[in-house]
Symmetry: C2
Subunit: 411 residues, 2 copies
C-alpha cells in the first residue's frame, strides 16, 4: 500500500449562500484549497481524479451525476470523476475512495470534496430530504425523524449513566465558544452573545447562559433535545488534495500523513440495535483505524467528532475510546474536551456551531485537523503542537461511521 | 498495485419486479453471485467491504444511505459500505472503488453491486428521474431529455457519415436476437417474434422485420430514434466479488483477472462538445484501460458497450477503437458485431434487449464477460474461447465513461 499525504485543504464559510448552487460552492472551496497548497498546484496538470461527496443533490437541487458535473465546473472535464454517498458521511466516503485510488498506485494525486446546498428548501423540505438517511420502510412510517432518533439516544444515555440535559449543555457552550473563534463557522458566536442579541431584540433578560438555554428561546425539539442541541441547516463545500507521499514534497514541506483509515456500519433503523448509547459502526471504524495507524485513543491529540446533536459528541467520545463508557458526559463537564483540555474535541465549533452542510462535513473536519496540526488555527489553536488528529464522521443515526487518523509529517 | 481478480458474479432477471424493493433485488443478485463462486464463499467471513451503485434511490424509492442499508439487508451489517453514483455508470463506479480498495491492499475481498428499482414510477416520473443525469441549468430548461439528446447524436452521425435510421436497425435486430438467447433479458425475444405477437393481437400483417420497425407499432420517440431504438425501463440488480489475486484460488480455479481500468468524463451538457459523434470521456477511459492492460482494441475478443440507445453502440464502437471513425455503423450492418462476427458486441442483448436498470448495468456487463470468458454463456456462447473482454458503461449523454478489461486466467 502506497503511503498517502494530505497536501492542501479548503472550504467555504458554512451558512446560507442564497446566490450559489452546489457546483458554485465547490468552485469556491477548490479555490480556497488551491490557495492553501504551500508550493502551488496546477489543477489541470496535477489532479488525476475527482471524488465528490454530496448526500442528496437529487432532493436539494434536482440534479444528479454531480461528480462529472463538478469536474466540468471546476475546469477538470475529462478526468475520472464520480460521486460517493453515505448520508452525512458522504465526503468521508469520497476521502476513502481517493485514499484507496492513490494508495493503490492508480493515481498520484486526487481531489476529494464534499458539498450540500440545503437552504433551497424550507424546514419541512429539508426534514424530508434528510429523512431518507433513515429507513423508509421501518422508521419513517412511524413519523420519526433525526431529532427524535437522537433524542432516543439521549434518553437512554441519561437513564443508563445518570446524566441530564443540563449536563449536556457543556457541549453546547463549548462548541459555540469554539465556533466564536472560527470565521468560517455559521454561528460565529458564543451562546452568551446569541442570548444578548435575543434579549435586546425581545426586551427580556437572562441571568446567564443556562437561564437562556432553559428559556422559550431555546424550545424543545424532541425531548430532551432543544434547538441549541441541534446542528443547523447549512450550505457549504469542502475540498482536500491527496497525493502519494512519493510526490507530496513537490507541493508542500508540511504535509499531513494519512495514517489510519477505518469504516464501519450499523443497522440503519435504530430498532435493530441492542443499545442506543453506542454504534458498532463507530467501534469497528475506530478499531480498524487505530490498528492501521498503530496507535491508541490516548495517542490522539485532537479530534473532530460528528456532533449533529450534542448527545452524539458524548457518545462518539466513548465509542472512539477517549473516555470510558458513561464517562464522556462527565469529561465534557470537566472541560477535558475544551481547547485547553487534555482531549480537545471539535475545536472549530463542530457541526453544532460551524454548521452542517451534510455532504461537506467529513472533509471540513479534515480541514480543521490540517490547521491545528500545522499550527495555523489562529485564536483557537490548541497548545503543545498537536501531532496526531482524528476525524469521526457519521451518517444517519450513526449507521455509517468513517474514521481517519492524520499525522503531522516531519520532513 | 496488487493484482485483483473477479471470483464470482450474479444478477437478477431484468424487467418488472413489482413485489421487490431495491434492497430485495440486491439480496437476490447476491444469492445468485454466491451460487456462482466455484468453491463457495462465506459472506460474513469473507466479504470485507461493500460498494453499491444506484443512480437515484432518492427519486425512485425515497430512500438514501443505500450502501449501509444494503449491508444490513445482505446480512453484512458492520462492514464498511457506501454508495457510488455516476448516473447510468453508477455500478462501474462501485467496481472502480472496489478495485482500488483491493488493489491498495486495504481489503482482500469486496462485494461490488448495482441496483435500480425504476418501475415504481410511471413513464413521466422515470423521465424526470433520469433527466437529472443531464444539466438542470443548461439542458433541462430547454425541455430536452435523453431520447432527444441521443437523437441529436444520431442526426449528427448520419449527416457526417452518410448513415440512416434503416442502417441503424442492424443494431436493434442483433441485440434483440442476442437477448432472445438470454433468459435474464427483459425482452427475451427477437424483433420477429415481437412483431408476430403484435400482428396476432392487432390483426395486422408485417412483410418482415423492417416492415414492422417502420410501422406505427414502433413509433417515433425523438427523430430519428423510434421506440425500439431505446432501452426499456427496468428493475434489477447485479453483483460481483473482487479478490486479491493472492487469495482468489481459495474461491475458484477460473477467476478473471482485472487487467485494465479506465475512467473519463466529458461535459454534462452536450452543448459543450464540438462533435456529438464522440465523447472525450470514452476516449480517455479507453486509452487509460488499454495502456494499463498493455493491449490494443484489436486484442479485445468481446465487449459489452452501453447501448442505451442503438446509436450509442455505434459511437462507442468507434470511440473504443474497434472501428475507424464513421465505420462503426457499417461494421454492424456487415454482421461484424454479431455473435459470429470478428468483434461481438453486447452478446447478452445489451441494454436494448436485456434491460437497463441503470445502477445495475455496469456490473451486469461484467456478468456477461464472466460467462463468455469462462465458456458458460450457453446458446449465445461466442466461439473460439474468447480470452479478453471489455466493458464500457456510460452515464448521461456519455458524460461519464468507465472501461474495464478482463482476462481469462490460466491457472
Amino acid at each position: 500500500m502506497k503511503s498517502v499525504d494530505l497536501i492542501g485543504v479548503g472550504m467555504t464559510k458554512f451558512g446560507k449562500h442564497p446566490d450559489e448552487t452546489g457546483r458554485d460552492l465547490l468552485v469556491k472551496a477548490m479555490e480556497d484549497a488551491v490557495s492553501h497548497v504551500d508550493k502551488g498546484i496546477d489543477i489541470k496538470k496535477d489532479i488525476k481524479a475527482l471524488f465528490v461527496g454530496y448526500f442528496t443533490p437529487e432532493l436539494f437541487e434536482h440534479q444528479g451525476h454531480i461528480g462529472t458535473l463538478a469536474a466540468e465546473w471546476l475546469g477538470l472535464s475529462g478526468i475520472p470523476a464520480f460521486r460517493t454517498e453515505s448520508a452525512c458521511a458522504s465526503s468521508s466516503a469520497a476521502l476513502a475512495t481517493g485514499y484507496w485510488a492513490v494508495a493503490s498506485g492508480m493515481y498520484d494525486l486526487v481531489m476529494v470534496s464534499g458539498v450540500e446546498k440545503m437552504t433551497n428548501l424550507d424546514t419541512t423540505g429539508v426534514t424530508d430530504a434528510l429523512s431518507i438517511a433513515a429507513d423508509n420502510v421501518f422508521e419513517l412510517p412511524a413519523g420519526i425523524t433525526f431529532p427524535g432518533l437522537f433524542a432516543l439516544m439521549a434518553q437512554e444515555y441519561f437513564e443508563k449513566y445518570n446524566g441530564s440535559w443540563e449536563d449536556l449543555q457543556a457541549v453546547t457552550l463549548k462548541n459555540h465558544y469554539n465556533g466564536s473563534l472560527n470565521p468560517k463557522a455559521q454561528f460565529h458566536a458564543e451562546i452568551a452573545s446569541i442570548a444578548k442579541k435575543i434579549a435586546v431584540k425581545k426586551g427580556v433578560t437572562f441571568k446567564d447562559d443556562m437561564d437562556f438555554l432553559k428559556s422559550k428561546y431555546n424550545p424543545l425539539v424532541a425531548y430532551p433535545l432543544r434547538l441549541f442541541d441541534c446542528s443547523p441547516i447549512s450550505d457549504g463545500a469542502s475540498v482536500a488534495f491527496l497525493a502519494s507521499s512519493e510526490i507530496s514534497n513537490r507541493f508542500t514541506d508540511k504535509p499531513l500523513h494519512v495514517k489510519g483509515v477505518g469504516l464501519g456500519t450499523d443497522t440503519i433503523a435504530v430498532s435493530g440495535r441492542p443499545d442506543l448509547t453506542t454504534s458498532k459502526g463507530t467501534v469497528n471504524a475506530a478499531n480498524a483505524a487505530y490498528k492501521m495507524a498503530g496507535v491508541t485513543p490516548d495517542d490522539i491529540d485532537i479530534a473532530e467528532v460528528h456532533d449533529c446533536f450534542t448527545i452524539n459528541e458524548v457518545i462518539l467520545s466513548e465509542d472512539l475510546g477517549f473516555f470510558e463508557r458513561g464517562k464522556g458526559l462527565k469529561g465534557a463537564m470537566e472541560g477535558r474536551t475544551s481547547l485547553s483540555g487534555d482531549k480537545p474535541l471539535n475545536t472549530d465549533g463542530g457541526l453544532k456551531s460551524k454548521g452542517h452542510p451534510v455532504g461537506a462535513t467529513g472533509i471540513a473536519m479534515i480541514h480543521e485537523i490540517w490547521l491545528q496540526l500545522r499550527g495555523e488555527a489562529g485564536e483557537r489553536q490548541v497548545k503543545g503542537s498537536p501531532k496526531l488528529g482524528l476525524t469521526c464522521n457519521v451518517g444517519g443515526s450513526t449507521a455509517s461511521s468513517m474514521v481517519f487518523i492524520l499525522e503531522r509529517g516531519e520532513k
